[in-house]
Amino acid sequence: SAVISQKPSRDICQRGTSLTIQCQVDSQVTMMFWYRQQPGQSLTLIATANQGSEATYESGFVIDKFPISRPNLTFSTLTVSNMSPEDSSIYLCSVLAGADTQYFGPGTRLTVL
């Protein structure tokens, strides 16, 4: 398994601003993922972040809105840009351990006013 931390754990932001969420893992991993969980909903994959390459975004998500960095094998950031109340969600990062299993961080609870 892997131990994953996220910062901040929660935040309240004003519309039009941006928030950068950090994800740190205790071991080197090739693949990291970012998910969104809207209130009362399931998880939706935003993008896959591999070290040394551009993130791969899922349908409905774009780099201008959700820029991602992956500077090394233990760290990634997700920025939620130009926020609106519809961006209020829990944002979770996960890592692929071994070939087949994802482990999740505790999530960042974002409220946009």
Partner: protein, 111 residues
């Protein structure tokens, strides 16, 4: 694309009663299947997974699940639940190392 259907959005049970949370998936190829649990105000924790081999897999906290290829199901069971099992449970299928989640089942344990 693969999809996952969790047939029950909410399941209320009494403490110490057995419970089954249902999950069906759509796939024409070999799959990896997972159950995750999300306790209130927390992230997701892996309960168990099926990759290959025995169709009955055991996980943490006394949970188990049975992979049924002919019925494309991966139902989660526990013979006796506890108040602390109150949580949201998500079934997921792996597709090219990405996870596709079901809508979740909220398990509520009544004393």
């Amino acid at each position: 694309a693969q999809s996952v259907t969790q047939l029950d959005s909410q399941v209320p049970v009494f403490e110490e009663a057995p419970v089954e949370l249902r999950c069906n998936y759509s796939s024409s190829v070999s799959v990896y299947l997972f159950w995750y649990v999300q306790y209130p105000n927390q992230g997701l924790q892996l309960l168990l997974k099926y990759l290959s081999g025995s169709t009955l897999v055991k996980g943490i906290n006394g949970f188990e699940a049975e992979f049924n290829k002919s019925q494309t199901s991966f139902h989660l069971r526990k013979p006796s639940v506890h108040i602390s099992d109150t949580a949201e449970y998500f079934c997921a299928v792996s597709e090219a190392q990405k996870l596709v989640f079901g809508q979740g089942t909220r398990l509520t344990i009544n004393p």
